[in-house]
Symmetry: C2
Subunit: 225 residues, 2 copies
Amino acid sequence: MLAQATISPTAPTPLSYHSGQPVTEPSDLWSTATRQTCARNRSIYSEGDPADRVFKVVSGAVRTFQLLEDGRRQVNAFYLAGEIFGLEATGDYRFSAEAIVTSQILVLRRDRLTLRLTNEPALMGDLWRITACELERAQAHFALLGRKSAIERVASFLVSMGERSVTNGAIELPMSRQDIADFLGLTIETVSRTMTLLEEQRLIAMPSARRIVIRDRRPLMALDS
Amino acid sequence: MLAQATISPTAPTPLSYHSGQPVTEPSDLWSTATRQTCARNRSIYSEGDPADRVFKVVSGAVRTFQLLEDGRRQVNAFYLAGEIFGLEATGDYRFSAEAIVTSQILVLRRDRLTLRLTNEPALMGDLWRITACELERAQAHFALLGRKSAIERVASFLVSMGERSVTNGAIELPMSRQDIADFLGLTIETVSRTMTLLEEQRLIAMPSARRIVIRDRRPLMALDS
DNA sequence: CGTCCGATTGACAAAACTCAAGTACTGTGG
DNA sequence: CCACAGTACTTGAGTTTTGTCAATCGGACG
């Protein structure tokens, strides 16, 4: 039944995508993928590896990042349940991916995807849209890294996480302060201090370091610009 | 003849793309585009406009950027001769584009492109690759904005410009110091001071503010990381 | 209960920003 | 050709923000 399913370009199923932009994909794209469990901090692929697989997070969380020669790290993105990563149009992976916590991921071999593309060219439009969506999110991150203050960066991050994964009122952060710092272009100490500041201002509450409750959304959104 | 031309996915013509990554596109993609002259600082499209056109720079230079509410500006990219911009998979432009200097650009209507895509699905793969290439370049910019010092940012910028447009030994910068600052996430003063520093260190020479000669490439590349 | 690791806090230093002044181009009109 | 105006760029002085280094706190787990 899975193999027989045909894709109509007019009847895609909606995919909740983490940029907030609805993206469509064929419902059975992942039916031929294999499921895999990745331990915490386990590498999924590394910069320079041939880009022969595409991934979708089932549960857990993944980070993609690049390292400068002296060890400085830039986290490019976090991927949560339902989100797709590792989709390159061609060539090698240009960044590395690691599981942040023990995660379940779907792995789709690139050659299977290519095969599907040959039979169903319309599918390529969907993949293009996924890439375009990622580009959009990336460019929006430019303004954060290039022009925002520490408090604006942290507020933007919390608002974004709040839109992506809330469990009964609280944001569960799977990533460490170091991950957040490397994503926001700050140091771990600045992230920590800024979160304390937001708590003192009663905009958020922190039942624990990894659990954040947004108490007053409005001023946080304002900081988000 | 133009209309009759068929596209073979195995015989694309190479397109020099500014990320340094070779990208292919059908040679006649722009044959139905109209040529247009854009005066200096003239808006080409604005954030929120329907993304109904795709552009290619013939001569001159273009910047894409976003504005925060309080006027802070982030320049996302510069586009020089031969480079494509405004290619969105769907929806509205999410950033604005302006001519930096008086420029000639090719304008391809989106509906014509869509028509082509219907007849030649293979073309979509090429467009996807262009978007993926742009994404790659965007993500590489993350490390610069998030983790590099002022001198590293300026050095990276000059090396990148040197690879894209050199006229008899000198880099001709079409953009102002303010444009560069907004691209690198710095202030105009820091950009100016940093360039002076690089000149004092004999890594570059500045016959004029807009003409840069790279005198010692090695240490500049090292700063580029 | 103690250890370990991640997170927080404090004191100080450095990098980049802000504000302000001065210099050097560019183009225009006399 | 020169004088002037306007803009862009450079430089300086002082401030702010963020980073660095070091110590402490606190929850998770054996």
